[in-house]
């Protein structure tokens, strides 16, 4: 969905997204890592289970909540990706429903 520019050489960190290692530029937020890894949808809306993904990247929409190092509901766009960090997405778990 997103890709690094060809000039992207520079320091990188590796994070583990749903078990798979992903290398991203140092300074990337966890949400940026998810988008670079194509880990989208990254979350299901808790009410309807509709698929969701980071939306604002600046901490205001709360659509980027994922589990980081065992702690659920962390705001991925406000947390810097760190070496070895384990990120778990929780995309849709049941079919869409609307009451």
């Amino acid at each position: 969905m997103y890709a690094s520019l060809p000039d992207a050489a520079g320091p990188q960190v590796s994070v583990i997204v749903d078990g798979k290692p992903v290398a991203v530029p140092a300074g990337a937020s966890v949400a940026a890592a998810l988008l670079l890894a194509g880990a989208v949808p990254s979350r299901a809306n808790p009410v309807t289970h509709a698929p969701r993904a980071p939306y604002c990247m600046m901490g205001v929409c709360f659509e980027c909540l994922v589990e980081i190092d065992g702690i659920p509901e962390r705001q991925a766009c406000m947390i810097a990706a760190a070496e070895g960090m384990r990120v778990r997405c929780a995309p849709r778990s049941s079919p869409p429903e609307r009451s």
Binding site: Y2, A32, N45, A53, Y55, M57, F62
Partner: protein, 464 residues
């Protein structure tokens, strides 16, 4: 407990950085808290890293971005206590500032506070706007500035406003050609804006820059669609297409990434939580805190500067920050009124120059009624609780008197974003349904903490 700071500044964007630099020059003991890891705010995000590791990207992002380096360097060089990675979640009276940094909460005391929390993009509730693959244009721009990442595949921009044009231009510099720009600005807006052109031309550089972006996008052959009746986004697990309906004909644009933008609104939750008075600004189509020309709020120890006090743009934000710091020093009796006024002369003149662009921009890019108050009932308004426009209209019909009661009626605004994504839409929908001014409807009552706190953080609060 240690001595309180003279001044606590929330936000290290152009307004906060300029205020801090001025406050330090005037000898104020100043602390700056910002939730980002580096100074710059939204416009100059990651500028130090880009200049150091990827200087070639400065040209790609444009001269206005590179101009931030001087401001950031002056800020770094001044003697203030700068605390990056610090999210302010509550301000108590008398002034105690509670903030969360790297999983721990702290409290510090200050005699005055300057809120310089900037802007966020105005929510754009369209059918399909919650689909993965749909983001704000600013979000994609953050990816470009912070990690040099660009959207892949077919990219469609939907909305209007200077930031949308700037970003389309920046993507072109990065060799990404968007497949279409779906322009939601209101038919007739150009005509209505025309009378502001002479004033706007007196603001330094803006009109020329805007025209240049438009020309470059046209020359690149980017399809621009306007004057249509309906736009919606379709997809199942991700966005797949943008559908535009115009005089009976339907156009389907395949899309992998859709970027929305319809201007900026103040990032206002801190001011609301502090019960500062706000009022509806019809020209900017949002609430803004009631402040005087020094940024003083309805409570005299609180000031606002920059886009959080009404959208003014980065250059104006910087000068507003300087003025706010001068007034703080005056209120703290470090300078007298004569000294304050003498030092204020240059920033006031600059503010006046830069503000001349605003009436044109506000008329030209005024968000259309149907994009701030969706007509179709099934358009989601509250992304967290998935309340839609129909739910809100029905609640009004059943006697729901205001936005706060809307929370109880349909849980709208009760999710983790605390109303940031739906608050203005709820006000607009209610105002339209009742045919009254948004001022009469008001806004959600915002309560601290203004950002959800991790469990246990409160218990372990560190006092200073």
């Amino acid at each position: 407990m240690s001595e309180p700071y003279d001044l606590a500044i929330v936000g290290a964007g152009p307004a906060g950085m300029a205020a801090a630099t001025t406050a330090a020059e005037l000898g104020l003991r100043t602390v700056v808290l910002d939730e980002q890891e580096a100074p710059g705010g939204q416009i100059y995000r990651s500028i130090e890293r880009v200049a150091r590791d990827h200087p070639q990207r400065l040209a790609m992002l444009g001269e206005d971005y590179a101009a931030g380096l001087a401001l950031v360097r002056a800020f770094r060089a001044c003697s203030v206590d700068y605390r990056p990675g610090s999210t302010v979640w509550q301000v108590e009276q008398p002034l105690g500032i509670l903030y969360s940094a790297h999983g721990e909460s702290h409290r510090l005391r200050a005699r005055r506070i300057l809120i310089a929390t900037g802007a966020m993009e105005r929510p754009m509730p369209l059918a399909g706007w919650t689909l993965p693959g749909v983001m704000t244009a600013g979000a994609a721009q953050i990816l470009l500035k912070t990690v040099g990442a660009v959207p892949q595949g077919r990219v469609v921009l939907v909305g209007c406003g200077p930031l949308l044009l700037l970003f389309a231009w920046q993507l072109l510099q990065a060799n990404v050609r968007v497949s279409a720009l779906v322009d939601t600005s209101t038919p007739g807006a150009r005509r209505r804006a025309a009378r502001h052109l002479p004033t706007a031309l007196m603001a330094p550089g803006y009109v020329g820059k805007g025209l240049r972006y438009i020309r470059v996008l046209r020359e690149a052959g980017i399809a621009m669609l306007d004057n249509f009746e309906h736009v919606q986004l379709n997809g199942s697990e991700r966005v797949e297409e943008v559908v535009v309906k115009r005089s009976g004909a339907t156009e389907r644009l395949a899309a992998d990434v859709v970027l929305l933008h319809q201007g900026l609104v103040p990032n206002a939750n801190l001011g609301w939580a502090l019960r500062c008075e706000h009022e509806w600004n019809e020209s900017q189509r949002c609430f803004i805190p009631r402040v005087d020309s020094w940024g003083l709020a309805s409570q005299a120890e609180i000031q606002f500067a920059g886009d959080c006090a009404g959208i003014v743009g980065a250059r104006s934000a910087e000068h507003a920050g300087r003025l706010a710091a001068l007034e703080s020093a005056y209120r703290l009796e470090r300078i007298d009124a004569t000294a304050r006024d003498a030092k204020a002369r240059a920033p006031i003149a600059e503010l006046r120059r830069h503000r001349r662009i605003r009436p044109l921009l506000e008329a030209l890019y005024r968000p259309g009624d149907r994009y701030v108050a969706p007509e179709q009932d099934d358009v989601i308004v509250c992304r967290c609780e998935e309340a839609n426009a129909g739910d809100i209209r029905r609640a009004v019909a059943h006697g729901c008197p205001g936005p706060n009661q809307m929370k109880a009626f349909i849980r709208c605004g009760m999710g983790p974003c605390q109303g940031r994504m739906c608050g203005l839409t709820v006000t607009e929908l209610m105002a339209a349904a009742r045919n009254v001014s948004p001022n009469e409807i008001g806004y959600y009552r915002i309560r601290p903490p203004i950002k959800p706190l991790a469990l246990g953080e409160l218990a372990a609060l560190q006092l200073e």
